[in-house]
Each structure stands twice: as C-alpha cells, then as structure tokens.
C-alpha cells in the first residue's frame, strides 16, 4: 500500500515538474523561433536559476522570511541583467533578436518557484544541483519546442556557425512546404500544447505519469 502511495506521489511530482517547466517556457518561447535561439535562452535560464538558487540558499536564516521573496526578485533581476550583458558582449546580434526576453528571465515562473519552494530551505550544494537539473530540463524542453517550430515553420534547423559553416541545415521537403504558422506567436502556443499532450501520452503509456 505504502509502495503504491509513494509511486503515486512520485508520478504526481513528475507531472508537476513537467507542468512547471512548461509554464516556465513562457514568455521566453516567443523568441525561440530557431534552435540556436532556444539553446541561448535555455542556457540563460540555467545560469539565472543557478545564481538565484545558490544565493537564496546562502541567505537562508540571514534574511527574515517576509523579505526573502523581495531579495530573490532583486537577485533574479541582477542575474538576468548580468546574463543580458554577457550575451551582448558575446553575440550582439543574438542579444538584439532576443530583446527584452532575456531580462524577463528575472520573473520566470521556474526561477522564482525553485528559489521559493526548494533553494531557501536547503544547503547551497543541493540548491545548486536542483537548479542545474531543472536548468538542463528547461534547456532540453525549450530546444525541442524551438526545433519543432523552426523545422515546421521554416523548413530549416539553425545551429551555431562554426568556422566557414553558417550553421543552417535545410530540410528537404519542409523547406518547400513550410507550415508558416509554427514560426508565428500562435505557433508557439500550438506547438507547445501538442508537444505537452504528446509527452503526457507517452508518459501515461509508460506508466510514468498519472492519467
């Protein structure tokens, strides 16, 4: 009985995590129209998650309960500003194309939830590990959505340019018959919705999520 309960709890926790990551995709997903942009946004969220998680954990007991959320928002704002500067220095064109969305990582649901629900009640090591795991999960999710949107909407896949290679792979059939809506803001909702449903279908079939 207890095994069943713990199995059920584990499934519910997995379902909550997948939902949290899906919710965290917004609003970043608006500009994730190519795989390269998706990876950049994913890495940016990973860095902000790690910084906020680590500092929230280090400040536990130092800052009183009521002020903790305010401090977390401030730290998230500083971390997002730092990431925006780093991106501007490394790749100004990519930074321009991502616009305000890098700064908006400061209020990303995933960043604030992990800091509030886990990091501020655990050790810095555990908080950092949690942030890295969630960050990698987010990176994978946003990359998959960005890849689907670009492949369907433009018929291409954009990686990062290396040496003489521009980093763009043209997909044979889709490039001539793209489903343009996938690259539009409406496509962000539609692609994410259908991918989430597909994930749930697979998870339920494998017995990894509650029905």
């Amino acid at each position: 009985m207890s095994e069943r309960q713990s199995d059920g709890q584990r499934r519910a926790a997995r379902s909550r995590v997948s939902l949290l990551v899906a919710v965290g995709l917004f609003p970043s997903i608006a500009v994730a129209t190519t795989l390269a942009k998706g990876i950049l946004l994913g890495l940016s969220v990973l860095v902000v998650l790690a910084v906020v998680g680590l500092i929230a954990s280090l400040l536990r007991g130092v800052v009183e309960e009521r002020g903790q959320s305010y401090v977390q928002i401030l730290v998230a704002g500083l971390a997002a500003t730092g990431v925006a500067f780093a991106l501007q220095a490394i790749d100004p064109a990519a930074s321009r194309s991502l616009g305000v969305y890098v700064s908006l990582i400061a209020v990303n649901a995933l960043v604030l939830d992990r800091a509030a629900s886990y990091a501020r009640s655990t050790t810095p090591g555990r908080a950092l590990l949690d942030a890295l795991l969630f960050g990698v999960g987010f990176l994978v999710c946003i990359s998959v959505v960005a890849l689907a949107r670009e492949a369907l909407g433009a018929g291409s896949v954009t990686f990062f340019p290396v040496a003489g290679w521009k980093g763009v792979v043209i997909l044979p059939w889709l490039s001539k018959n793209p489903i343009r809506v996938a690259a539009l803001p409406a496509g962000a909702f539609l692609v994410t919705g259908y991918l989430l449903a597909l994930y749930r279908r697979i998870a339920v079939t494998n017995g990894e999520a509650p029905e």
Partner: protein, 190 residues
C-alpha cells in the same frame, strides 16, 4: 503615436498575451469572474509599472547614465507596488490580496515596464500604453476563461486535458487576432 493608435495597437494588433506571449500563467483565472478580477488587477499594475518606468528613466536612470540597470531598478520598484496597492486590493476582494504579490511577478507587468522604457514613451503615452497592454491581457484572459468554462462540459482526449487544451485554445485565439494587423490600423486611422 496617438492615444487611439496605442490603444488599438496593444489591445488588438500587438496584444501582450497573444503576440508577445507575456503574462502566462495568472494564478486564479479559471472562471470568468476571477479572470476579470485578475485582468483588472493586472491592468492597474501594467499601468503603474509603465508610469514607474517613465519616472525611473526620466528622473533617475537617464540623468545618471545608468540605463543599463533598467531591469533591476524597475523590478525593485514594481516589486514594492503590492505594499502600496494592498489597501485597494482589500477593497476589491479577498483573493486579490493573496494574488497581488504573485501578479507583480507576472511577466506582463515587468514586460510592460521594459517595453515602455525602451520605446522612450512620454508620460501620457506610458499611461495609455500601460492601460492598453493591461486591457489586451484582460480581454484575452476573459475569452480564455469563457472557452475553459465551455470546455468543462465537453469531452476532451485525456492527454489534451488541462494545460495542453488551454495552450491550443490560445493558439487558435492568436490566429483569430491576426486579422487585426497594421494595414487594418492604417486604413482605420489613416
């Protein structure tokens, strides 16, 4: 940009929820009545944050050449808004008091402030922009909650239930809103 132009642009053409994808997910917006309350509170906050962005740009950041700190400064001021708005929220209703702090971290609020800051709007423009951005969000939230209420009585395949069907509904709504484009605006307003 004229006030009417701003109003139509940010409610219909560049809707912050459907085109800029800001503001998802508000905490309590499953029913039409709560969606209207959350949307109205968000409109107040987007208006305040756009005005705050103007004050921060004109009186603090531009004179000190500290524009690069826009995110941190705006976020700090916006995060303090719930304390100022607390008495008003108490008058409007109980659930709003709990949701107010969550609403401040809604990306629509910071997003509106950052857009107003970067577009260098005047005070009047910031005010109208904040109102129209919030109004656009309220409109979408109202439509979405009406769709969700309707969906409760319909059969939906299991994997699509909940968030996936809400996202697909939003996608279809965004497609419908694409009928409002800049050309239409140009023809309407000259």
């Amino acid at each position: 940009m004229s006030a009417l132009n701003l109003l139509i642009t940010f409610i219909f053409v560049d809707n912050i929820a459907l085109v800029l994808l800001l503001g998802w997910w508000p905490p309590r917006a499953r029913k039409v009545s709560s969606a209207v309350a959350v949307g109205a509170a968000t409109t107040v906050l987007t208006t305040l944050s756009a005005v705050v962005a103007w004050v921060a740009r004109v009186y603090v950041l531009a004179p000190l050449h500290l524009e690069f700190l826009q995110t941190v400064v705006i976020l700090l001021i916006v995060a303090a808004l719930p304390f100022a708005a607390h008495p008003l929220a108490r008058r409007l209703g109980g659930p709003l008091v709990r949701d107010l702090r969550a609403l401040v971290t809604n990306s629509a609020v910071l997003g509106a402030a950052l857009i107003a800051f970067r577009a260098s709007y005047s005070l009047a423009e910031s005010l109208v922009f904040g109102l129209s951005a919030g109004g656009g969000f309220l409109l979408v939230l109202f439509l979405l909650s009406a769709v969700r209420e309707r969906l409760e009585s319909e059969w939906i395949p299991r994997p699509l239930r909940g968030v996936p069907i809400a996202l697909i509904s939003l996608g279809l709504m965004a497609l419908a809103f694409m009928a409002f484009d800049r050309e239409l605006l140009k023809n309407l307003l000259g």
